[in-house]
Symmetry: C2
Amino acid sequence: MLTVLTVIEAREKILSGLGFRLPAERVLLADAAGRVLAGEITAPSDLPAFSRSTMDGYAVAARDSFGATEAMPALLDVTGEVMMGTTAPAPLKSGEAMRISTGGMLPAGADAVVMVEHTELLDEYTVSVHRAAAPGENTIARGEDLRQGVAALPPGHILRPQDIGLLAALGCTGAEVATRPRVAVLSTGDELVSPECEPAPGQVRDINTYLLSALVKQTGAVPVPLGIIPDSPQALAAALHKTKDCDCTIISGGSSAGVRDLTADAINSLGKPGVLFHGVSMRPGKPLIYGLAGDKPYFGLSGNPTSAMVGFLLFVRPLLLAMQGASELQQLLWARVDRSLSSAGGREDYVRAILYSKERELWASPVLGQSNLISTVVRGSALLRIPQDCEGVEAGEKLEAIEI
Amino acid sequence: MLTVLTVIEAREKILSGLGFRLPAERVLLADAAGRVLAGEITAPSDLPAFSRSTMDGYAVAARDSFGATEAMPALLDVTGEVMMGTTAPAPLKSGEAMRISTGGMLPAGADAVVMVEHTELLDEYTVSVHRAAAPGENTIARGEDLRQGVAALPPGHILRPQDIGLLAALGCTGAEVATRPRVAVLSTGDELVSPECEPAPGQVRDINTYLLSALVKQTGAVPVPLGIIPDSPQALAAALHKTKDCDCTIISGGSSAGVRDLTADAINSLGKPGVLFHGVSMRPGKPLIYGLAGDKPYFGLSGNPTSAMVGFLLFVRPLLLAMQGASELQQLLWARVDRSLSSAGGREDYVRAILYSKERELWASPVLGQSNLISTVVRGSALLRIPQDCEGVEAGEKLEAIEI
């Protein structure tokens, strides 16, 4: 009998035992959001490549405006206009100003922009400036966004829309990202039938193929559903044979002791080291099996959908991200529970709850009902974590929340 | 000159003026996550369809176990085993017990399950029960998850993995969901070149086509990038002609007054009612244009990527969700700022910040630097909202946060 691990021990064992990183592949910018960056991105040149105006107005040498006020304006010669996408027609000399639009390139000799609202055009060639501009005012300096050679994005970064925008700015038409993990999903159980079937008495429809495949997709990985597998060593062995070209396998089902042993035996039969642990001190999801065949990870999750989902979020998801080299995601959400909760010490409890906002604070209302009802996880919008050393929570206490 | 609206007025005007809902289409369960449910889902029959065991043990009539203790066990006749996926070989009579596994169907006459840990098998036909079971103990009753005919999921619900699981449980092989909105994305500006080009002096690379397309995708919609459009009425008119089969159009660019007018004129030229407002009291993103040509919405967002992103999140995203009939998403996140922030009254400020967790609380560290640097929105993980009536925030105060 293998020892039951704590949640932290189990996650540590899974992550530290990971023996491979997925190779990189190049994808177009349009397909790069949500993917994990394979290498560091550095700025190949200054961004912006030239000093730009951030306002509509007049490019000036700031010193020419010093002391200017409504009552004592500075008068400057207007020598032209900077057109968008081009350089100024000529450098700016002392006492001169040039019309410029937002985003325009500052002429040589200019170091500030006076907003058009603070000027008056006296005639075609003369502008009166009513307010002094400090050097750099209403401009972005060359390299102010990013200096040539600095790190713009770290490896392991999960690309967001603004990162895609930055890559475009740096001249990237695509990105090197980690290949998506392929995840085999097997539902085991003699009682299971496909959703399109009308179950006979004693039979139930397969939920976990669809639930787990959707969770795999949500994690940025590719589900490879292998269907419903009867509770027999031969059927399970045949199905597991098809998982050889996947990067990870999830077997769900087998909440009964005999079937759990079947799953463990099947994982062991695939090769060394085999099952690494069998059971995690948590609820729901205690009978979780984890093993390696060579460096290929195999999870045995409970047949109960809520347990399978908790097991996925706590263990499979971090592993799929780690395979892609993703930087660890920080737990951010804390919510106050609006009623007291009891909990048995010695295990972590994951309680389904509905999150809501009240008086500038995140609150959570626990969903009543057994964990083996899928409706509780459908009604909930989060899982609340009651730590292992905690025997209950008072209403108003704060708990970590995982959005679901 | 059209009036500048507040953020709330602008959003209200956009949403209340929406003149259509996208039609429904049927998608397979495997493709349904993230989509918006078109109609209500009700349970076509009880879930589960029969009473099930939640433990490995013995199905019993609870009354036969009343008073049983370690010292005074109840002795019951073992009359068989319930195999998974089938009915019991016979109904249970008084004084009888039947072996059952987790998920097994309770025999007629049984109303509880005694965990195997609380029993001892004395011989092949006799089990001693050491603990009384209450009626219903270690079982899920027929219909306990969902009763036939009850609402399982409301229309407008955005499908999550657990909802996909529930649909499978109810026998759905697909779902009726709103069609994805097709969103035309145009970047305007004489200064813009494609990411693969080396910009000449005065030119910059197009960021917004990629940033906005990624935001459109993140919202579950389909981007239709129409490329870089020069600042000329003819070029813009020709490009807008191609937006007729899209459900929404985003024109970005034109931070200068002249170019903004070009965008407004082009929207007006498409048909009535034309531009509805021009300017929202917020920073960044003030020069936002919104109009309708017939019932087709057109947004003119700033060329500054951060402004365009804020405009998208505050106005375009809610509209794209509303077109799909999605239920409104609640703002959940509140973060304490770790330094004081000043703000001009009379407008909403959206400050880029890095979220982190400290002492069971969400904190936000404002990112320094101008809003027109894309690096600030890349370094940030959230936007903090400083309300319009607020002239500054003290360190430690709570602000609404939008994850980015």
